[in-house]
């Protein structure tokens, strides 16, 4: 059954949707009781997708756990911009240890809670893509494999932003970073490298894996809350555009995230025990160039001349995602879907499963 009966198509503002909903159906973010886990005053850049994603996700977890949550944070932007002591933006118990060990530290917190009989307290580990897909991968895989009772959230902005935009294992092909500069015959990041951690997480057959973006608040909130329905290892991978590293306009963060999904480059889905149980269908498909053009990290694909072969390879990757995850399955020009889409949470309609 759907967890939300109605979901309005998002156009950049959730205000309209919320006004039309009953209070109990409104998003966590629009609620007067949202916990503001990451409260204002932090030092994230203007338009930071990670700050947004973290607050969206953790506020939803806070509601799901009735405020009984402990968070463990990997080193990275989120850690640095949130805790320039004596200021801290965290209104939750929060621990930062190292760059590569957040999943293991979270395991330790969960073990302590079990040892103390505090099963009501839930544990979230979180980090950026560098801390997750690269340096934290061994600890993450270990936490998955043991099925420790931890929700791990990766805020994926596709490079090491905190250190100045260096390539990570999550950096997409052709993207310019400080260590994959836009020079030479094949500017930007190489094709055929990197890793897809949501799929790696699924290969561990952990109870719940999901992807989300900051463009779809309700879907993100649903998935963060849904993750708390399970015990054991859970993984939530949230695409969080980084205006600084991507070279996008700070005001376009939501739009860029939406284009990532609408182009098929970032498939939004959820999976239980290693099997995809639902996807968020693409409502209005766009060519990848619509997405790429919003970001100067891809500027070399368009200037001085359009690199059509490279763009075609990126488009092919998007097309493959669309086929692989069935992202266009029920998009059959249904006129009723133009204004309001009843997708519910992904997975609510069995026909959407792949």
């Amino acid at each position: 059954m759907p967890y939300e009966q109605i979901k309005f198509y998002q156009v950049g503002s959730f205000a309209a949707g919320n006004r039309l909903l009953d209070p109990e159906q409104r998003s966590v973010q629009s609620g007067s009781e949202r916990s503001n886990t990451l409260t204002c005053g932090h030092r994230a850049c203007q338009g930071c997708g990670e700050a947004l994603g973290a607050r969206y996700a953790l506020d939803a977890v806070m509601r799901a756990t009735k405020g009984k949550m402990i968070a463990v944070n990997a080193t990275g932007c989120l850690e640095v911009f949130s805790t320039p002591f004596p200021e801290t933006s965290w209104q939750i118990p929060w621990l930062h240890s190292l760059f590569g060990n957040a999943p293991a530290v979270a395991t330790g917190v969960a073990a302590a809670m079990r040892a103390k009989g505090r099963t009501d307290v839930r544990v979230v580990g979180q980090g950026g893509d560098g801390g997750t897909v690269d340096i934290g991968m061994a600890c993450l895989s270990g936490m998955f494999e043991r099925d420790d009772d931890v929700l791990y959230i990766c805020y994926d902005n596709q490079a090491y932003m905190n250190t100045g935009v260096q390539r990570s294992g999550a950096t997409p092909p052709a993207a310019r970073t400080a260590t994959t500069p836009a020079v030479g015959d094949e500017p930007g990041n190489a094709f055929g490298q990197g890793k897809n951690v949501p799929l790696i997480a699924m290969a561990h057959e952990i109870p719940y894996v999901a992807t989300a973006t900051v463009a779809d608040l309700r879907d993100l909130e649903y998935k963060a809350a849904r993750a708390m329905d399970f015990h054991g290892a859970r993984y939530l991978h949230i695409l969080v555009p980084c205006p600084l590293g991507w070279g996008s306009a700070p005001g376009d963060t939501i739009k860029v995230a939406r284009l990532a999904t609408e182009s098929g480059l970032f498939p939004v889905f959820e999976a239980e025990a290693g099997t995809v149980t639902g996807v968020s269908p693409i409502r209005r498909r766009v060519p990848v160039t619509d997405y790429l053009r919003t970001q100067s990290r891809y500027a070399h694909l368009f200037h001085p001349a359009e690199r059509t072969k490279v763009i075609a390879r990126i488009q092919a990757a998007a097309d493959r995602n669309i086929t692989r995850f069935g992202l266009m399955k029920d998009q059959t020009n249904d006129p009723e879907r133009t204004g309001v889409t009843h997708s519910g949470p992904a997975g609510s309609d069995p026909a959407e499963g792949s």
Binding site: W94, H96, N101, V105, G108, A111, A112, R114, A115, G142
Partner: protein, 415 residues
Amino acid sequence: MLKQIEGSRAVAETVAMCRPEVICAYPITPQTHIVEALGAMVKKGDLAAEFINVESEFAAMSVAIGASASGARAYTATASQGLLYMCEAVHNAAGLGLPVVMTVANRAIGAPINIWNDHSDAMSQRDAGWIQLYAQTSQEALDLHIQAFRIAEELSNPVMVCMDGFLLTHASERADIPAQAQVDAFVPPYQPRQVLDPSDPVSIGAMVGPEAFTEVRYLAHARMREALELIPQVAARFTADFCRESGGLVRPYRTEDADLIVVGLGSVLGTVEDAVDELRDTGMRVGVLGITTYRPFPARAIAEALSGCGRLVVLERALSPGTGGMVSADIRMALPAGPAMHTVIAGLGGRAVTRKSLRAMLTQAAAGALGPLTFLDLDAGLAGRELARMRDARRSGPSAENMLRDLGISASRIG
């Protein structure tokens, strides 16, 4: 209760009595028997603890960090490469002021890979901010664990209990295993200074810039200074409760009238004491000073213990290439205008430190004929031939393998 028991097993049984709530386990020789035994106790239901089989030593210490910061008593054990692999988290636990207790079953560090005992591993972490206690016997190893939990939690600082790999971990010896009630009386429940708690949320592990970093580090040093006061108190209380001496800062042996004193750490002290007894029988005035607490470095206690002697031999179980001995440097700091000092590197990678070699070396030292830095029982011919090969050919090949080929013996031969 007296038992004939393997050192690892004795430590495991004692650690269990200290009621750790979270135990992290990753196998590495020669530490493995300790966590195996603890795992079995948890699995059988004899010990109420969370036993986490982690994927690396880095994760082991990280899990311990998370558990300790959440108010749970956390324990792990490691050795050698494992200690180095967790190094970043070792420093982090100390920096966060988390009272994790860890056994280090001392073993050499590669390359060349070597599973046998020396102190290279623990010595490499001497500046990590952990209290380091070195056990002389299996009995002391288990006793030090009981004291370690108390010291760690009172100071909110992690403690490393170092016991020589194989020599203590695998030797079956007589040990007095305490009763649970005794340990419970000695190790009160963990009352954390800082804890992750949803009812009182705090941020732990924030970035600290130049405005306070020095002061935070100063406090780490202040905790260590406090430890120098606390450790002897805990040892004294231990003696009162358990009716035997264990722990403390230093342990002098026949030093009262000694002209020559040997300083050392760990199980080698037993052999050194035997050698000293034999030399005393010949009329030589020689004594031993065992360092039980190496970090914090008990400079005053050492200076007092060594004040009367004219000559020192520092027996080092680890090498700082290009310098010599790490303990020697610390001792020189404690005795800036002190006696003549000789550094003797001994027992690297499991090479036996024999009474015969010690007697010869100490006799030489007493005669003033020992150099400032000596490698005990060095096969100078073997090393010299490899140096010659390196001189003769640029591409002389891997030295370790060349020397084994030269010797014509298996790498696994001990002694």
